[in-house]
Amino acid sequence: MQAHENLIQEFVVEAKSHIDKIEEGLLQFEQGQADDQLIHAIFRSAHSIKGTAGFFGLNQIVALSHAMENLLGKIRSKELKLDGKRIENLLVANDYLKKLFDHVEESDTIDISYCLNQLQDKIPRREGKFEVKEQYRSLFQDLLKHGRTFYELTYSLDQVEAEREEFYQRITQQIESIGSLIQSYSRAAKDALSTEQQDAVFLFSTVLEKDLVAMAMGFDQNQLKQFDVRLQEQEICQLLTQAEQAKWSSQASSLLEHEEVPSNSKQSDGLGQEKEKIRVDVTLLNQLVNLAGEMVLTRNQLLRKITPEIQDQPGIRLILQRLDQTTTEMQEKIMRTRMQPLDLLFHSLPRLVRELGRQLDKQVNLVLEGKDVELDKSIIEGLVDPLAHLVRNALDHGIETPDIRKQLGKEPIAHLFIRAHHESGRVIITIEDDGAGIDLEKIRSKASQLGLIQPEATVSQDELLSFIFKPGLTTANQVNAVSGRGVGLDVVHTNIEKLGGTVEVNTTKNKGTTFRLILPLTLAIIPSFILETAPYQFALPQTHLQEIVRLVPGKNSAKIEKIQDHAVICLRGQIIPLIDLRELIGASNFEITSNKSRKVLILKSGNKKFGLIVDAIQDQEETLVKPLPKYLKERKIYSGVTILGNGKIVMVLDADGLCNAAKISFSGEDQAEPFHRARLVSEENGLTELLLFQCSGPEILAVPLSLIARVEEMEDQQMEQIGQASYYHSQGQIRRLIRPEEYLPITKNELPQNKKMIIIPKNNQSVAILAHRVQDTQFIETSATIQQNSEVMTKIVVNGKIIVYVHLAALFKVAALDSNGGQ
């Protein structure tokens, strides 16, 4: 029997693939991409299912696929046209077929009569007596025989406090005690103002009169509708059919939510040749992945231990290289086994869009791109929900009805564009719609209502957009079955973050909205930096890292500012808030050598950019991130733990968590504003900023900071001597180095042997000033003495000390004369 089971399983897999093709084909037909080839293909699929099912004796499946095949055959021979109604019937039948295959063992017991009737396409009688449908005839006979009346009970689920299941059971019991239940289902309420807005409908029969029924069940009489079995046959049949349909459509939409992601499937690679595949247990694959990870770590450990020793051993180096190479490749390939094409995610979307479009009366054209892009299986699984949510949102809130679109001058058919592509080691999924865009004003008022922001506060676009991810925030006035409860985007955000990715959103009013999901390629092994903030070590995944800035005390102090008591750094005109890791973890009592440089890592999480100050960056490692033990879950700054190559455990930092812990709020483009304003203010107030530096003597020299492009450090080797002059090469420019002490009456000593500072002016490409130390910047009052002057220098007093103010233009002129003269 084992062999038989295997055969059936294989058949199920194959049949499901046919079912998918049928669905795809039908949807394509609906989109207007009809052609004969398509009909043939769909027909063939139905036919194969029927054939093989017959071989296994799966009678119901044979019956259903036979009915489908018949209808398709008539369409193929142009006897019947494939119109919307028929497509609908075929799709429903296809869903039934899927269900039959899901329970293939019991498939013979499942009732498919409704479907068969639909497919048989009976021409409705135009006049005469209303014929009760066959399937209901026995029901009617029974009702008449016992003199029962037919009732419809509608109950708003809004008022149900207990669990749905219990509620249904209770009502069923009550009904059964006074009569018999025929059908029960739930449907969307007529008015959608209530939050749950679902109605439960019970169809039952009983001998009791209406008022007695109401009394017996404790309901109000207007929740009950009475139908005479003899006189109102048509209505009763309608109700029964509605009930059937409702049952099936709710199952169809739940089908879309529970997409199974099979571990393997047959794919034809374009040439029609099927690539050979093997079904592998996913647990086994996971174990393999773990082992590969452990192997990588052990190899790292080995390399670390051995490298100092191998200098003298001949041939070992080669072997270790081979080991290194093989391990890396093996790990990569094992990771690849878990990679699956995004198509698995995408292929349920056309159906979802279609169903939602019909529900909401909107016309949407869905364009999918990049279904061959591969992602780790668990990431794909984790994307099912978020993607469904985003599509729902786009259709419900973003895209307008065709009428409104026409009014706005847009095409009545909206576009939903979902695209996946690789970019710098990540997979980016873009969901773009050309709908109404996100209404920032509404968000602002909702956020203000919820107390998230002050009503008068200026909030940037980025920050407003980040609010849409907060749970409980919705701008929908009515909640409907599709979306609007205020939890969808929070789920999206949390799920994507859990996978190690980020979400970005961009919107333009009336033009549309774009969501970008940025995901790592693999889950387990993430390249990270190992940081040190003594005495602790941490790991930080590179996903959120943008750049690293080095802070040398004294030199870059101009770059760190304090705005409203928060430390920030000014990087290329942008203000970025800083977080000191030491303060965050509460380790400030540890001694820091204050003259050591510290590093700032600029991280970006979603739309937030910030800098993290650490003591040092030690290494780069591929780390196998393990989940955080649940006892540590409180502190949100950690996203997991990892074991380094040397066996040590370090905590893995989480960019988002760091942000939240430091309680930084972001304000997007406004960040640059205050800084520039400060600059302007100072200039308007008649203040000039000076750069103070020293050359080989003790005198302090000054130049206006506004004339300086940048200051660089230079090693001895970077200076080159050509003839009498020294030259410095930087960023593609060769500059002649000018020592002020040669042109000014100040002390001239030997050049220092160690690092020198090069001051590079803005307006002159050919020279630079060679200084010993750069001290500081200082504001002084703009006065006549420091206006441009033909003198090379002027002595001024700043803070009680005499400073030699250098007029750059004059200095450079003199220096130029000197060099020319020297030649």
Partner: protein
């Protein structure tokens, strides 16, 4: 309760746990302190590739222990206790493995504060001292709050 109890000294008292819940006892373990964490967690331990959370039992049980962590034994509990997150804790000294039967056990005395009471499953009167048998499930779930 009936069964074997693994006993150990912590602070001034003798404590015990059901031996079926213990996986191993280690010594001289090198662990990583977790910065900025509440005092109930001492740190994390790498046990042959598994990450073990080391609990600070002294602070949890509110007893005073004078010895430092170096060279101390630590008991690692089995992973089945609470899903996949294994825990362990340091002890001062190991005791014996004792056979305990119902008739030797008593409920904790009235004057023991309520919070502590829930962690002590039984009290066993031994010839020279009192043995407090810990209810690990209670203890662990209270940490998670």
């Amino acid at each position: 309760m009936n069964g074997k109890i693994l006993t150990f000294y912590l602070g001034s008292g003798l404590w015990g746990i059901d031996i079926k819940q213990a996986q191993e006892i280690n010594r001289n373990v090198e662990y990583t302190p977790v910065p900025g964490e509440k005092s109930s967690i001492v740190g994390l331990l790498n046990l042959r590739g598994q990450v073990i959370t080391l609990l600070n039992l002294t602070s949890l049980l509110q007893i005073h222990s004078s010895s430092t962590e170096l060279g101390r034994h630590c008991i690692i509990l089995k992973g089945t206790l609470n899903g996949s997150d294994q825990i362990g804790f340091f002890i001062d000294r190991l005791g014996d493995v004792m056979d305990v039967t119902e008739d030797l056990c008593e409920r904790p005395p009235q004057y023991v504060e309520d919070s502590e009471k829930s962690w002590i499953a039984d009290v066993v009167k031994l010839p020279n001292e009192m043995l407090f048998v810990l209810d690990l499930n209670h203890l662990l779930s209270s940490i998670l709050e």
